[in-house]
Point group: C2
DNA sequence: CCGTGACACGAGTGTTTACTCGCATACAAT
DNA sequence: ATTGTATGCGAGTAAACACTCGTGTCACGG
């Protein structure tokens, strides 16, 4: 977050949240390149100067929005993963694919802003963090199981491939509506992908 | 391209190329957010005013850079695809994966700028065009062949999945060097993916 | 209830930068 | 050659906008 100073009193903690929420609203309503500090302040109902009591610059406000958003996604997916870690691979894959899609579908507009309007480099760390956390859980899961087929694949390699491919496909499915398959079919194909690479 | 006016004489056609090349250089050397019109003009050895003889605004200059870059990628991949269209699926998949990786590796810095520094929306159309062209060829190929297994899958669906997944993985492999597999392994896995989804 | 630091305000400032416009030069046509 | 047109120049302009700072208000400890 890199706040300029710690909010000590309650009202100032509220203010930080109000600012972040307002920034999110501006992103969704007006898009990233119409986001100005004055507009965020307006929407938050505070003065421009107040932003800079806690945030060192405009970028860090946006950063906070993306961090909170991606963290939420991460929690949802990891939670599902952990919840189904004792089931068989197919059920687990299906549940997690569903969880990911649901999480992405909760706020498609913000997803579009973060994934496509913002320069990727502005939230790449968040994204890498999401991927790493999911990958770690998945790798542990894969490492603890014998695949049914003949040869055993490297779990690190499998999880890298699966996480990236599934993420890319799921995001694109939610953002572009010209995909030649419906949601259910996508889930099936993602499951198949996971099993094939495992 | 959306040029402001057609360059008629030879020297003016040269100038357009010089400007585009300079913009590319600035992107690679300084990054997208340090790209200013004056800097591009400097690097091209022309005056700021001259940019606006042919380009309506700064965005269209960058657009032209990305369009040329992505077009080049497209040509390379489609060419490989077409060249191997009479071979068996595995050989074809391998050749195309190789071609894609080689094309991406030719200018990783520009790839990073275009894919990660630029807002995705600024070159999304280029990207969709690349995907569509590759997908069309692939779909025709898949449609003309019987898969060895039992059930026949929808070629439109397969090609959508394959193109997106392969693109995402290849780009990430080239840009992030923490992938837990080497180039050769990646090619194998991409081939396996293609065969599994076919 | 007073005093002190934390908090909030918002008009203003300084900088950055995309883009223009009046003029100069090169070229083509006749 | 001469004239009209296309091309090129670059100092200058105007607008946008991130961020500051001097002033005022609030809340809490004593």
């Amino acid at each position: 977050m890199a706040l300029r100073k710690l909010p000590r009193q309650q009202r100032s903690r509220d203010m930080v949240d109000r600012i972040v929420a307002a920034a999110r609203d501006v992103l969704v309503a007006d898009g990233y390149d119409r986001l100005t500090t004055n507009r965020v302040a307006d929407r938050a109902g505070v003065s421009p100067g107040s932003l800079y009591q806690y945030f060192p610059d405009k970028a860090s406000i946006v950063e906070e929005v993306t961090a909170r958003y991606v963290d939420r996604l991460t929690e949802d997916v990891v939670a599902s993963l952990v919840d189904h870690v004792h089931e068989d691979p197919e059920a687990m894959a299906r549940a997690t694919a569903e969880a990911l899609l649901s999480a992405l579908e909760r706020d498609p507009t913000l997803l579009r802003v973060v994934w496509q309007e913002l320069p990727v480099s502005r939230h790449l760390d968040d994204r890498l963090g999401l991927e790493r956390r999911v990958r770690d859980v998945l790798r542990a899961y894969l490492g603890g199981r014998q695949p049914p087929g003949s040869r055993r694949r490297d779990p690190a390699r499998s999880s890298w491939l699966i996480v990236l491919a599934v993420e890319s496909l799921a995001v694109r499915f939610v953002l572009d509506d010209d995909a030649p398959l419906d949601r259910e079919e996508l889930v099936e194909d993602l499951v198949a992908l996971g099993l094939a690479w495992w």
